[in-house]
Amino acid sequence: MSRASWSLSSPSAVVDACVAQSAGETDHPYSAEARTVLLDLSKCRIYVLFSESVKDEWARHGSKLSIRWLAAMVSRGLAVKVRDKASTHLRKTIKLVLPDPYDVLALLKDVHLLELALAYGSGVISSDERSGTLAAQVSATHRPLARVQWVSPHRPKGACRAWIAGGLSDAEIGRLGASAPRRPIRKAARRMG
């Protein structure tokens, strides 16, 4: 696959810092699955988006292994620096839709991942299945969220690897809601550096 530079139509993913953290540990079998996914992203030359908030999370939870992986991705121009795109509407909807305040806090912790996915048409790779489930609940009300893919490196087994191997072309894996029309992507991004 040959891609000289990032464009808005390029398939891309946002990787939750929990995957980076897990990859540097030896928690069987989750850590090995997280590492495999990171290696697959590199081998398949998938662009990975990093905003300030994602970078901060990675700095807090990343491991030596994830730093080495990130350096390799930056070196190849596969790590793309983007701006955070806070969505007041989404945040309000989360607070309105989710009855349990702990659930609200849990999803707001990861809302920046959803906002990037919405703004740049990216998928999300996260081991946090609770946030995924909550996001799916919110997508019933906040319809744009329905097309976002929240993919776990662990379940269903092999699904994330297949998705990456296919260049993120399978739009159904991990989709948060029922089929929804694709929305145009608004803002440009720039490579990390």
């Binding site: 030896t26 079998p29 590492r35 292994l65 080495r68 992986w69 070196s75 121009g77």
Partner: protein, 452 residues
Amino acid sequence: MTAPGRAGTRPPKPLTSLEVGVQGYKSLRDEIRMQLRPLTLVAGANSSGKSSFMQALLLLKQTLEVQFDPGPLLLNGPNVALTSTQQLFSRGKAKHDTAAHFVVSMNLGEREVRLRFNKPSGKPVGIVSMYIRDHENAMTIHEGEFPLEPTQLLRDTMRWLSEITTIEQERPAPDVTVRAIRNRCFLIAEARIAGTRLELPYFSVGPFRNALLEMIHVPGLRGNPDRVYPTSAVGRSFPGTFERYVASLIYAWQSSRSAANVSRLNYLNNHLHELGLTWKVHAKPADDTSVELLVGRLPHAQQGGAHDMVSIADVGFGVSQTLPVLVALVAARPGQIVYLEQPEIHLHPRAQTGLAKILAWHAQRGVIVVAETHSSLLIRATQTAIAQGFVDNRNVALHWFTRSIDTGVTAITSASPDRRGRFHDWPIDFDDVALEADVAYLNAVEAGDADE
């Protein structure tokens, strides 16, 4: 065409980049072209053809340097040691599947030369043709022939002769024959005038010849450290491999306390210190034929420790193996090619990253540093030097060699870094190997823990 040496009244413009092509040599079956920029990193798996590529240039260098005429190519010399022509020409699986030609080309932008060698059955290696281009003028020359029209030839010849002799153009021309003859690995134009032979400046191979003669070669095998080193003459060029000149060069810099030499010694000592190897190197004549190299016993200078020096043979390999690399870099002038095989060998990983900055520094001052490396740290530190603005990304090239597992033929992937040091599309490389090694280790630990 410009005559070689005609511009001798002013120093030649330093080389800033050179494109080299090699075809038909060892595993380089198809033509491989490589841009040599001030900092050129050559990487790839073992036996992928990295060394073979540069050997093509080294063959020409040693052919030009040897005292006798070895024919078009000196196969067994100080830089490249081949014992038969079969080792030179690319070959396939079948015995008869051998490349018909070995071609080396050098392109300086405005000037280009392409040398084509062959091996006729039962005869030694010969030069088939030399293509030469000088600006828009290009011609292909064969030995014994001459490509220009007789009238133009005679007019040019007489004009040149009139410039260097007392022959006047109005006088009847003497009987002149001109043909291309071989001069080592090049073809030159030779005039015969009344039995006298005279080299004519038709084919401007001078810049290529100079680049080859001045190329510094620091081989991967740099020998064991010795108590004393034979003295050698030192000048602008260093015939053969470079390590034999190191002790004498340092001694020459010490002896002639010119500002330039003091500066060179300071750079050398600073580089050694930056790499954590030692703080000082000193050359001392042991007798009339040899020089002893002393180095600071400790990596950093200590108060009152100015004389705390020991023989280079008594310290770690890192010093003796890295010293030729550093001396070559410091000695080289802008435009001079310094070919370093495995500059990082015997260096601690931290020192490898420091070495990258030193290579970048000399590249930035105009030396053409060609480093063949297996060090992912050296490459990553070079990327860092680019991102920090320490070296201009346009001065850096990275070439990755691979070899087909089916045919054994070498292929090359070249990349130019952007301003942030990113190489973009790049084959699976050291990054992956190091990452995969980490992953394999963590997986093994994880599996072991799960079994318990």
